[in-house]
Subunit: 231 residues, 2 copies
DNA sequence: GTCATAAAATGAGTGCGCTCAGTTTTAAAA
DNA sequence: TTTTAAAACTGAGCGCACTCATTTTATGAC
């Protein structure tokens, strides 16, 4: 994660040249000293502890002290691994969600009609969030709007991951003549995602009924895809 | 606001009947005792103080103590008028935004092509947020996702206000044959708004460039309206 | 006016997220 | 091994949002 080998090109060019460095660490395959391992293990314990506590008693009611204690570290150490409590939440659930997204895209065949694909896809995400609604609320709050610029990259990754994975599906639908061809697939992907995400936010934020949410989303998607249809 | 007259039906039915009460307050047009006036004035001072401070030094850097002091009240009194600091933010800017929305809809003629109308509309909102970007960030965060159920009503009112005002514009466009008629105007309104709002969130949340944001939004809207076009 | 009661205001206190000056641990140099 | 330097860790302490037992103020009855 630290990108310890920034540039491994043979042409050792302009960058501040440390000639002897090249001799010192030439053939070390996987050093992983005590430092590295401790850090890795500590991070694992932190994530595990935070996940368990967030799941058990919710985000708000869990204190950072509790998490630190459960992970067996000092209360201040926690903030060396996550810049804030919210960061920790994202840290805990990002991998889980990325995996969910990737698996969903793998399992849904891109030969289905586009509307069916998107419906199946979003249904899976919704089911995931519904399994732990309280966490989903906290999580979506952080995912949808982060004040800290440092946090934006990993986080916007999730919306982008979905939207970008949608693009080739749109392209495929265009190729088989289902969708208008004068349409940028990436834009279309973002559009579909926007509609889903906005409804999701409304649902999670306003305690709207699940049935209503599904109905609204269904109508919106149907309409958008219909608008994209080749004629 | 307090709904002091819960049920004024002539049939004084099951509810705990207070017969003499009917005689006491029969013909009082606008009493407004000292209590009422004090409360009203205090609320005004709070809102004014909070607005000034938020504008001057931002949401995060303004403490509730400062606001209370500037409004000439005790620090605890503030929380009798707003349940939280975030609530206060919404309280301060909701009216301003509602007015902005209403004026925009008044001034944009509904005879223009739908795409032009929506573009003009969203441009105004964007200009408003851009005038005070830091406030917009805090505000959107609260508007887009509120954990407190008690807050949802006044807040969802803003997205709903926009989406609902869009619906008749869509209907008019249908009437003049610009937009497909097999399309629920309300759904279409929500769809247009979703696209705008999602892009706005991405912009405000991720510090994306303004130009990029405008371009993306423009493309998305163009595409969505094109999808709605009657053929 | 006095009294009784309910509404409103108050600010010291509480809890929690986060910081940072000081300490400990690891790794490399001598 | 000892020395040195840097990286990692720690927890007392700070600032701030929010609470609540107590006090102040307004209102109607007499």
């Amino acid at each position: 994660m630290k990108a310890s080998a920034v540039a491994r090109r043979t042409s050792n060019g302009t960058a501040g040249a440390k000639a002897p460095a090249a001799r010192r660490a030439p053939a070390k395959p996987a050093p992983e000293g005590r430092r590295e391992r401790n850090k890795r293990e500590k991070l694992q314990r932190i994530v595990a502890a935070a996940r368990a506590l967030f799941r058990a008693q919710g985000f708000d009611k869990t204190t950072t002290q509790e998490i630190a204690e459960a992970a067996g570290i000092g209360s201040g150490t926690l903030f060396l691994y996550a810049k804030s409590k919210e960061d920790l939440l994202v840290l805990v659930f990002r991998d889980e969600m990325s995996e969910l997204i990737e698996r969903a895209f793998e399992e849904i065949p891109d030969t289905l009609p586009l509307l069916e694909q998107t419906t199946m896809l979003f249904d899976r995400f919704i089911a995931y969030h519904r399994r732990d609604f309280a966490i989903a609320q906290s999580l979506l709050r952080e995912l949808s709007f982060l004040s800290n610029p440092a946090r934006r990259d990993p986080v916007n990754a999730i919306p982008n991951l979905i939207a970008n994975n949608l693009a080739p599906r749109v392209a495929a639908a265009q190729a088989r003549g289902e969708i208008r061809r004068d349409l940028d697939p990436s834009t279309a992907g973002h559009c579909l995602f926007s509609v889903y995400y906005q409804q999701l936010l409304i649902w999670a934020g306003s305690y709207a009924s699940y049935a209503q949410f599904k109905r609204n989303l269904g109508k919106l998607l149907e309409f958008v895809v219909e608008g994209m249809r080749a004629r």
